[in-house]
Amino acid sequence: MKPAPFDYLAPETIEQACEHLAAAGGGATVLAGGQTLLPLLALRMSQPFVLVDINRIAALGGIIRVAGGTRIGPIVRQNEAIEDATLASRLPLVVRATRHVAHHQIRNRGTIGGSIALGEPAAELPATAVALGATLEVRSTRGTRRIPAEEFYFGPYATALEQDELLSAVHFPDWEPDTVSLFRELAQRPGDFALLGLSGALTLEERRITRAGIAWFGMGPTPMKARQLEAALVGQSIDALDPRALAELAIADTAPFDDHHASAEYRRTVGRHVFARTWREALDSRKVA
């Protein structure tokens, strides 16, 4: 047995889970899919006193349509999301991004909420939540908070989630039917964390962009929303824009870092190309439409 000893609780309601988290006074860790937590336990990088396993809480599952959007239960497995008909029609970007999360076997256990709550800066789903304007609902014995994804991430693995709070739902707003997905990532091997990537959506009326939501992953300490790019796109015709100027704007709001995989400069250079290719793909998809 490699993990340090801990107590294990498997509540069946959100209220019970919140009570356990409150009672532990910061000594508890939530166990969702466990695909990041179990390696951390095995390596003893994480040594909680209590694990609160939320997998038996039915109210945390399911993908349902709600007014103005889609609610994804945090313990929905990543592969369930990929196979879901509602997401395929309403949130194709979420499906596309989720396909890039880790490996098939990991996605069979890993959850949508786990990835979003963890706040790994190179992960696909936090950036996708930020890009699409998702709202994260968090619960505790103190009540319910709804936090825009854009305000949720403070730094690598640092989020707005307090120690006694549980992510209880992820709400994605509807995007109009005439929306193009933008997604591309660069990884050293299939299934690895991305060196960097882009996730986003553009809504078009005829050929005019009416709404844009775009965010980077692996390009800073948190998901990085490409605000200047979005501002430059909205209201414009897709034919009238200069792709080179857009590529510069696309990386204007990033803060990439040097690590043993790549330098910040490499990430910026590749980021411009990633944007340019994704943009071309979006234009090509409009030619057929």
Binding site: M1, P5, F6, L38, H104, Q105, I106
Partner: protein
């Protein structure tokens, strides 16, 4: 350091045990339940050797706690071949295509391919090859493994026991 009673089905047989919370499912299957076909390599989800099928899905046994397996139906590599020794189609395909060398990574690969091909129709070769990216073979014997996967994808109904 809580202890928990669990009941689960492994390869069609019911099992009951009392497990410490921190015991991983891979360690439980190997050392408590005796299914040593569950190979433990990296013990943190990277290598894929311990992959088993839990409720129809291929998962890493080292990335689940034994206590989480309460109430589940598990298949390990020991549960695939027929009682008379007839190999499961995935095992047969790997044998036909020389899809193993030292054999350490093999049970995990077999379970991933079995889970994906045991459905109503076998998936595309792309799907199977993409899923194989979740396994490391330190002999680097990937060509034979790839051939076996492609064979399983092409023959309609090939994965069914």
């Amino acid at each position: 350091m809580s202890q928990h009673p669990i009941r689960l089905t492994i390869n069609g047989r019911p099992h009951e045990a009392n497990v410490e919370a921190r015991l991983t499912l891979s360690d439980f299957l190997r050392s408590k339940a005796g299914y040593t076909g569950v190979h433990v390599g990296c013990e943190h989800g990277v290598c894929g050797a311990c992959t088993i099928v839990v409720d129809g899905r291929a998962v890493r046994a080292c990335l689940m706690l034994a206590v989480q397996a309460d109430g589940t139906r598990i298949t390990t590599v020991e549960g695939l071949a027929a009682a008379d020794g007839t190999l499961h189609p995935v095992q047969q395909a790997l044998r036909d295509e020389h899809g193993l060398q030292c054999g350490f990574c093999t049970p995990g690969i077999v379970m991933t391919l079995a889970a994906l091909t045991d459905g109503p129709e076998p998936p595309s070769a792309d799907t199977l090859l993409e899923a194989l990216s979740g396994h490391l073979c330190r002999c680097t014997g990937y060509q034979g493994i790839r051939r076996a996967a492609i064979k399983l994808a092409k023959k309609p109904g090939a994965g069914r026991p």
